[in-house]
């Protein structure tokens, strides 16, 4: 079973309630599905289709556009090494080659023990801290080969508990208490906010 579990169904409904149209919640919901299973399963996509009122094909159509969504099991830690220009200039490609040798996999590959998936990725907005990488999207800066080896050893030894398993995104989620919400309305029926009308009338 890899439909969303009960807790995540509740979460999904909360997320959907923040959008004027259900389908807008699709990408956040795909993240929830990936967080639950480590990757996005067909069953989860079928479930999401039911939740937002589209076909499973439409869910896959959206999901397959975005690089973060994986459709097969991934390593516990996804190691994404940037080789874009700022990193390339100071050794990003060499770092990637070192990582390939160290982990024994090519980009896209997962180590046999299921610990690491290696990816070569595009700019991750840490260009002044090059060469850089992300482990499950958490940045590591200005690494040389020995820094990389230490990072991998630490991850294997469980010394980096602040980095969650692959698929886990923010440890903090937005939550709007019902009595604090201004109110999300359908684009078909929503009109001019009352405060805007009255304040504009006052100033004229």
């Amino acid at each position: 079973m890899s439909r969303l579990n009960e807790e995540n169904v509740a979460l999904a409904h909360e997320i959907i309630s923040r959008y004027p149209r259900k389908k807008s919640a699709l990408i956040p919901l795909l993240h929830v599905a990936q967080e639950q299973e480590g990757h996005v399963t067909n069953e989860a996509m079928e479930h999401l289709a039911e939740l937002v009122g589209v076909t499973p094909a439409e869910v896959l159509g959206t999901a397959s556009f975005y690089e973060m969504f994986k459709f097969e099991p991934q390593g516990k830690y996804m190691v994404n090494i940037c080789t874009n220009i700022s990193c390339q200039l100071v050794g990003g490609e060499e770092l990637l080659h070192h990582a390939e040798k160290t982990l024994g996999v090519r980009p896209g590959g997962t180590t046999e023990d299921g610990m690491f998936t290696l990816e070569d990725v595009e700019c991750m907005a840490a260009c002044t801290e090059a060469p850089c990488l992300q482990v499950n999207y958490r940045h590591e800066y200005r690494l040389d080969n020995s820094d990389f080896d230490k990072l991998i050893a630490d991850l294997r030894a469980g010394n980096r508990p602040e980095i969650p398993d692959h698929g886990t995104l923010g440890a903090v989620r937005q939550h709007i208490p019902a009595d604090r919400m201004a109110g999300i309305e359908s684009p078909e029926t929503a009109g001019t906010p009352a405060w805007f009308a009255s304040r504009t009338a006052q100033s004229n």
């Binding site: 556009f65 939550h175 999300i184 684009p187 100033s203």
Partner: protein, 469 residues
């Protein structure tokens, strides 16, 4: 309190001399908390705005000539004015920072989320709308967490949501997660993505987002840094704002300088007051080229920008200076390359980015960027053909016809061709891939020719991994 030093908890940020409009809280380790925000004037700009008429807030922003900080540099106040009197309308915040070399919106989101939230409320109030979507790039979970916590705290404190600060004004801000796609930084692709679709740009004209955007309703898409300016602007006013920067480009820019400099970093710099030379060589900034090497070229505004060279070092850092000189200031991403840089290899790497990130909607881009990458790769690998240089230019001309923007080269009597390029595509991604090609070939044609002439004997091949991606 400027110390001209790195701030350890804000990786890469340098607390240099000069006015701080958007990065003033960065030196505080707890700059992202509501407590620190409120203790340092947070939400005062919003409260001031709520005491004004919405139209007066919009007028103030227009008067300040707040240029968009995402890349195009269009005045935010003018963009806001394009909205027809139609409701509902939406504000969408573009936090999908992913232009190669760009590192500033992530810092602004991670280090001062309340400043951004305050800016969002000010914009929503001026625009008369009550729903804002804050689209943050998926690969930035720390920014997501900081903004989520900040929003939760601000909702609890009555600073966002229903009856903001005890007034009749009610505005929701919804945090939205991206999932990895550079093209979603293009505003109509961002809107498609926010509707739950593949992030492909929409054809325009006839309709621009201000008229028909999210759910085909009027929508303003503003960059994170643009909105982060609003709290300071509200508190200090447009006249004070215009005292900084230049007449055409008031205020500051967050600039990330990376590559071959001694002290790469993110600096908040007044627009139009310093030159690239000051930035690269000045002791207050990067302190010189790595190993005191000679400069070979630099990218003045992100991977999409045509390259500059030594002759452009004295160009001042503002859009209206960089554009006529043949490039763009773009997203404030400056990449410095010294004499040790292989021009073909650097060119390939930037082109490869666009090939990988092309959404595939327009044929000239989808096919063109792919072929550009293949041809450059074979030249680098020593399998280049003599006709490949012209072939690259021909493919480029299919994506961006006419003379491509390029910097002046006095030695060969060539004048600058001003930005922007023409395009046969819906969005500028494809044309951006032509920038490194025309820049590199025009200046370093002999390097391409040498690689082609020497063939595979020239040097070891540069194996680029992961070409299947």
């Amino acid at each position: 309190m400027a110390t001209n030093a790195y701030v350890p908890h804000a990786a890469g940020y340098v607390d240099n001399e000069g006015v701080k409009i958007v990065s003033s809280r960065f030196p505080y380790e707890d700059s992202y908390t509501l407590e620190r925000s409120l203790a340092t004037g947070g939400y005062e700009g919003m409260k001031k705005a709520l005491r004004m008429a919405p139209a007066d807030v919009a007028a103030l922003v227009k008067d300040a000539v707040l240029l968009g900080r995402g890349g195009a540099g269009f005045p935010a106040g003018v963009k806001w004015g394009f909205m027809p009197p139609v409701w509902p309308r939406y504000l969408v915040v573009n936090g999908d920072e992913s232009e190669p070399g760009t590192y500033k919106d992530r810092l602004l989101m991670e280090r001062d989320p309340h400043q951004l939230i305050e800016g969002c409320i000010i914009a929503c109030y001026a625009l008369g709308l009550n729903t804002c979507f804050l689209y943050v790039r998926g690969e930035m979970p720390v920014a997501q967490e900081r903004i989520a916590q900040a929003l939760n705290d601000a909702y609890d404190a009555g600073l966002v949501g229903k009856n903001i600060d005890g007034t009749d004004v009610s505005i929701d801000i919804v945090l939205h997660w991206g999932a990895g796609a550079y093209i979603v930084g293009e505003e109509t692709a961002l809107i498609e993505s926010l509707e739950g679709n593949r992030g492909m740009p929409r054809l325009k004209p006839p309709f621009f987002p201000a008229a028909k955007g999210l759910y085909l309703k009027p929508t303003i898409v503003n960059n994170v840094e643009t909105l982060a300016n609003l709290p300071w602007l509200m508190i200090n006013g447009s006249e004070e704002y215009k005292k900084y920067g230049s007449e055409r480009s008031p205020g500051t820019r967050m600039l990330a300088i990376s590559g071959h400099v001694k002290r790469p970093g993110v600096y908040e710099v007044e627009q139009g007051k310093v030159s690239f030379r000051d930035l690269f060589y000045g002791e207050n900034y990067c302190g010189g080229i790595t190993d005191d090497n000679d400069l070979k070229m630099f990218i003045p505004g992100g991977g999409s920008a045509p390259w500059f060279f030594e002759e452009q070092l004295d160009v001042l850092l503002e859009a209206s200076e960089v554009g006529p000189a043949g490039s763009m200031l773009g997203s404030g991403a400056i990449v410095v390359m010294d004499e040790t840089t292989d021009a073909v290899r650097a060119c390939l790497r930037v082109v490869r980015f666009f090939a990988r990130e092309s959404c595939g909607k327009c044929t000239p881009c989808r096919e063109g960027t792919t072929w550009e990458e293949k041809v450059l790769q074979r030249i680098l690998d020593g399998h280049g053909r003599p006709e490949d240089i012209d072939l690259l230019l021909e493919i480029g001309a299919n994506i961006s016809p006419g003379v491509y923007p390029v910097a002046a080269h006095p030695d060969s009597g060539l004048e600058a061709v001003p930005f922007p390029p023409k395009q046969t595509t819906i969005c500028p991604l494809g044309p951006s891939s032509v920038a490194p090609i025309t820049s590199a070939i025009r200046r370093f044609r002999s390097e391409f020719e040498a690689k082609i002439a020497n063939g595979s004997a020239s040097e070891e091949t540069h194996e680029l991994s992961g070409t299947s991606a």
